[in-house]
Amino acid sequence: MASFLFAAAGFVLAMVALGLLVILRRPAEVDHMMVAQLLGTGGVAILLLLAAATEAPPVVDVALLLALLAAFAAVAFVRSASGSEQEIPETASGG
């Protein structure tokens, strides 16, 4: 069972790596921000699979933290993207 779970973790890691390669090569900043999503789901899946494969339940906590901080990182990305230079926009239209 452990080797199957390791193989699955390796597969998801390869998918995340491929996704990272695609995302980071694109010029648009919006694409770059997607890495938070990619790591938020793929990274969590890898860690959960590793936790089950090595029978180390505390690793699940790392996955939990990763899920939380990927969302936090995404907020940091969006805040610092170009175009949000104005501190607080006068109108709340957002468009």
Binding site: G10, L20, V62, F72
Partner: protein, 310 residues
């Protein structure tokens, strides 16, 4: 090659590729995003090295907090000019040779381990039972090397003082210049309402579980800091001015309690930072709770930067 070592090789290649991309990227924004990814991947490497405590810290600080800090700086430096200076080719080549030499040196050191590997693990395990803790790393942090941990809190406060002291005199005691991203009724507001309760539960859990399993004050404090920053960025609470009494008390409560218990140890247990027998665990838990709050406040304020307005 077993399947787990194939996984490790893949992870190492990915970490190195992302690390190299972080150095080579032209845009600072993309480089910092690369660094965040790098931090999260490094957490996986720590998991593979069976250091879950370190993995938690790296994910929280390397991935989350450092990214937040640097992205704030990127957004400001974007307005600056004069970034077109390039390093000349000979300098690059020389630097490359130097770096290859350094890498080779470290690699040789790694590939030739000493015959008897020095370790303190048996000593830690022998004496861990006395402290009532189950997590050996927490044991080292709060029992055997408690002085390091105490001084590290002092370093955090000193760094914060350093950051604050960079503010112009006119705004001393004012409000940190954390850029907010407030759009009333936006999705960010919703996220900032949803995530912090979850984050606080996670922080309490980390702090509580730290005595027995991986986790502890650092990890819990970092999560608290992240959630606090999130709420401030969304504009749900205002950024407090650094002169606030409660803020300063919060910053020192952890170190002060730690120091107080340490000094009490001189009377009750015959050594500075020693715990009286039988009371070690409750005292350590009390110190951890106070430290979690102080670390959270200190990290949050470090990321918020020096005061900019009164």
């Amino acid at each position: 090659m077993t399947i787990s070592s194939a996984f490790d090789v893949g992870l190492v290649v990915l970490i190195l590729a992302v690390g190299a991309a972080t150095i080579a990227m032209r845009e600072a924004f993309a480089a910092v995003i690369g660094y965040v990814v790098y931090g999260l991947l490094l957490a996986m490497a720590w998991v593979r090295l069976a250091a879950v405590d370190v993995a938690l810290t790296e994910a929280a600080i390397g991935g989350g907090m450092t990214g937040m800090l640097m992205l704030g700086a990127v957004a400001r430096l974007r307005l600056a000019e004069g970034n077109d200076i390039r390093t000349s080719l000979p300098v690059r080549l020389a630097a490359g040779v130097l770096c290859v030499l350094v890498t080779a040196g470290v690699a040789v050191a790694i590939l030739s381990p000493p015959k008897t590997i020095p370790t303190l693990a048996p000593m830690v395990m022998e004496n861990l039972a006395q402290s009532g803790l189950g997590n050996p790393v927490a044991g080292v942090l709060f029992v055997y090397r408690a002085l390091d941990t105490l001084l590290e809190k002092v370093v955090l406060i000193l760094a914060l003082l350093g950051v604050w002291s960079l503010a112009p005199d006119s705004v001393w005691g004012g409000i940190p210049g954390l850029r907010v991203y407030a759009r009333p009724g936006s999705t960010l507001t919703f996220l900032a309402q949803l995530l912090p309760p979850v984050g606080i539960v996670v922080a309490v859990y980390m702090c509580w579980v730290g005595a027995k399993e991986p986790g502890g004050a650092f990890q819990g404090g970092t999560v608290l800091a992240a959630m606090w920053l999130l709420v401030m960025i969304a504009g749900l609470t205002s950024v407090p001015s650094i002169g606030e009494r409660w803020l300063r008390r919060l910053l020192v409560v952890g170190p002060v309690i730690f120091l107080g218990i340490g000094l009490a140890g001189m009377v009750l247990a015959n050594a500075f930072l020693a715990y009286p027998p039988g009371y070690a665990k409750p005292l350590i838990v009390a110190v951890e709770v106070a430290l979690t709050l102080s670390i959270g406040a200190a990290l949050g304020l470090l990321a918020a930067g020096p005061p900019e307005r009164v």
